[in-house]
Amino acid sequence: MNKLEIKNLNVSINDTPILKDFSLTVPRGEVHAIMGPNGTGKSTLAKALAGHEDYVITGGEVFLDGEQIVGMEPDEISRSGLFMAFQYPSEIAGVSIANFIRAARTARLADGEKLSAPDFYKELYSRMDLLKIDRAFTSRSVNEGFSGGEKKRCEILQMAMLAPKYAVLDETDSGLDIDALKIVAEGVNKMRGPDLGVLLITHYQRLLNYIVPDRVHVMFDGQIVQSGGPELAEKLESEGYDWVREARADKLVNA
């Protein structure tokens, strides 16, 4: 039961099919990486799972620990336990990070339940210490004027505070220098454990040097074309994606 199960998912943007019968299962507790060339549908997968209205699901199912999340509103999907770290997080002027995370936490409370402010700040500060984030950070407006590294750290902080069952990290390594990359990877590694399933979407193998995945999947033209262990990522790094294209072409010719 404890798995993120994607079955024959078909997703279109403006009537153009992007994901084609995409299937993947990520058991809770494992880290899976999805790699693939640009334009192959990796980010579409992330946005569609999160319920973005521009990404139209034309077929298939997604079960989060057995609960169907296709058709749910994005906020319901989030509260069901799916977190997405954005490639390009939005800026929200005038809303501090602390207040933003508080609003997200409050949205998870049952009617009549109240968030204890002292407990909340205690937890927030201890998470920030772990992620090596300066405390002054919480009073800044969400993502406003942040560097690429700050934005990604802010995403990881939110993830830590919202304690999702599954996290989809969409190109979290893009725009990061090596130091920032290490800090983000360290943050994810600290949260790794039996309660969290991670789907790492990345174009480069570099991130996988720091977050070693349990499984690696290669995505091409809206589908997974090959799966394997961490060694598959190394093969992609040394040989590029051309062999994937060729293997795919062969598969289509032989079909």
Binding site: D75, I92, G94, A107, S141
Partner: protein, 468 residues
């Protein structure tokens, strides 16, 4: 943490009314007889009756200003409006003496509770007249006067008459003339030299009757070196037909005085709210308008400060929120009339759906003046693509010995921002509300605590159900 009492202020909390019998009713329509009726009932001195009649003539002669303002003004039917409705003249000093139906109204709006919590004095106006007026005893001992305008003009004529109609002349505009003809209710406040009133004085304006026009008249005089904050709140039930609220507020800050006037307006969506507000600041005096316009069908309001004495300061901080079918036409007027005067205007407007916001500003600095400063910032936030916002700043600076600064911005709450917040588990209406609160946050921080809490809550409620 905050010790602010949990103030309840809901958008729909004002949407109720009690059937009330009125002892005095001027009937519908406006002519000299209406004015005479009001003067008779109120026992006006002759100079007031003459003032009213002169104003009626000016009102009738002045055209509706549709050459610059909304054509919606043409939809006001003056013949169908009731101009005076009251149960009597004298405001009660205790809530126990207030008639039950009126008392129930104010209880439901939480006024006595707020008075106990943090106010120095309260006046509660029900349709045309104040039904309750009370102030803490220590303030009256210090010589502070806080009464209804009718009582003010009868019992303190020497102060009242000196300033009444002087800051805003009858003919300032069509609606100031209308108010001058039929005014009733409103507050008269006098703060003696050097007296600093620590807690705010509050007036609460309630429209209860249908087809009614509320025309309160407020005059506040802060004598030399004194300080006072006045807050007004407004609500009306949602009727089938439109209601008119046309107030005139005059402020006078004498040498070194500080006067702050705060408005929380939460009118229902069929109120025409056409209000003239202006302050006169003498040497080193400071007048600050904090003006928040939520609700109404059409609001036209441009609080102003005339900086008459050297070193005077004027400030307008305003927030306007326009929903579907609403037009917030607001702004500020800063008239620099002495050296070393400075003014600051910060206006934030939020337009939702078909809602429309307009900013109009006037800053005037004559050639001969030295070292005057103005800063104007206008920011507009659009939610949904249909909303409309316009900015008409008019800055007239003659001579080169003064400085002005003007900044304007228009931003949108984007679908991506909303998706981002929703991905964190925040429901769509709360996400909108967060974005709006974020937009006004730096301004709200300038407001008194009780007020900013109330305003944030009001914005939250206003954003509920704004999602299509």
């Amino acid at each position: 943490m905050s010790t602010t009492p949990d103030l309840k202020f809901e958008r729909d909390v004002g949407n109720f009314h009690y059937d009330t019998s009125y002892e005095f009713d001027a009937g519908t329509g406006l002519n000299e007889k209406t004015v005479d009726y009001i003067s008779d009932v109120k026992g006006d001195p002759d100079w007031v009756r003459d003032f009213r009649k002169k104003a009626l003539k000016i009102f009738q002669d002045k055209p509706v200003p549709t050459h610059w303002a909304s054509r919606d003004l043409e939809n006001i039917d003056y013949d169908k409006i009731r101009y005076y409705l009251s149960k009597g003249q004298r405001a009660s000093r205790t809530w126990d003496e207030v008639p039950d139906d009126v008392k129930n109204t104010f209880e439901r709006l939480g006024i006595p509770e707020k008075e106990r919590a943090y106010l120095a004095g309260v006046e509660a106006q029900f349709d045309s007249e104040a039904s309750y007026s009370n102030m803490k005893e220590e303030l009256s001992k210090q010589g502070v006067i806080f009464v209804g305008s009718a009582e003010g003009l009868k019992e303190y004529p020497e102060i009242f008459r000196k300033w009444f109609g002087k800051v805003i002349p009858i003919g300032d505009n069509k609606f100031s003339a209308l108010n001058s003809a039929v005014f009733s209710g409103g507050s008269f406040i006098y703060v003696p030299p050097g007296v600093k009133v620590k807690q705010p004085l509050q007036a609460y304006f309630r429209i209860n009757a249908e087809n009614f026009g509320q025309f309160e008249r407020t005059l506040i005089i802060a004598d030399e070196g004194s300080e006072v904050t006045y807050m007004e709140g407004c609500t009306a039930p949602q009727f089938e037909t439109s209601t008119l609220h046309s107030a005139v507020v005059e402020l006078v800050a004498l040498k070194g005085a500080k006067l702050q006037y705060i408005t929380v307006q939460n009118w229902s969506a069929n109120v025409f709210n056409l209000v003239t507000k202006r302050g006169l600041a003498m040497d080193d005096a400071e007048i600050k308008w904090i003006d928040c316009n939520i609700g109404s069908r059409l609001t036209m309001k441009y609080p102003g400060v005339v900086m008459r004495g050297p070193g005077a300061r004027g400030e307008v901080l305003s927030i306007a929120l326009a929903h579907d079918g609403q037009h917030q036409d607001t702004g500020a007027k800063m008239i620099h009339a002495a050296d070393n005067t400075s003014s600051n205007i910060i206006s934030k407007s939020i337009s939702i759906g078909q809602g429309r916001s307009t900013y109009r500003g006037i800053v005037n600095m004559p050639r001969a003046l030295k070292s005057c400063k103005n800063n104007t910032e206008c920011d507009a936030l659009l939610i949904n693509t249909n909303s409309r916002t316009d900015t008409y700043p008019a800055i007239t600076v003659r001579g080169n010995q003064s400085t002005v600064q003007h900044e304007a911005s228009v931003s949108k709450v984007s679908a991506e921002q909303i998706f981002y917040m929703m991905q964190r588990g925040i429901p769509e209406d709360e996400a909108m509300s967060l974005a709006v609160n974020g937009f006004v946050n730096d301004l709200i921080r300038e407001f008194p605590m009780e007020y900013s809490v109330e305003l944030k809550r009001l914005i939250d409620l206003e954003m509920e159900g704004s999602v299509g």
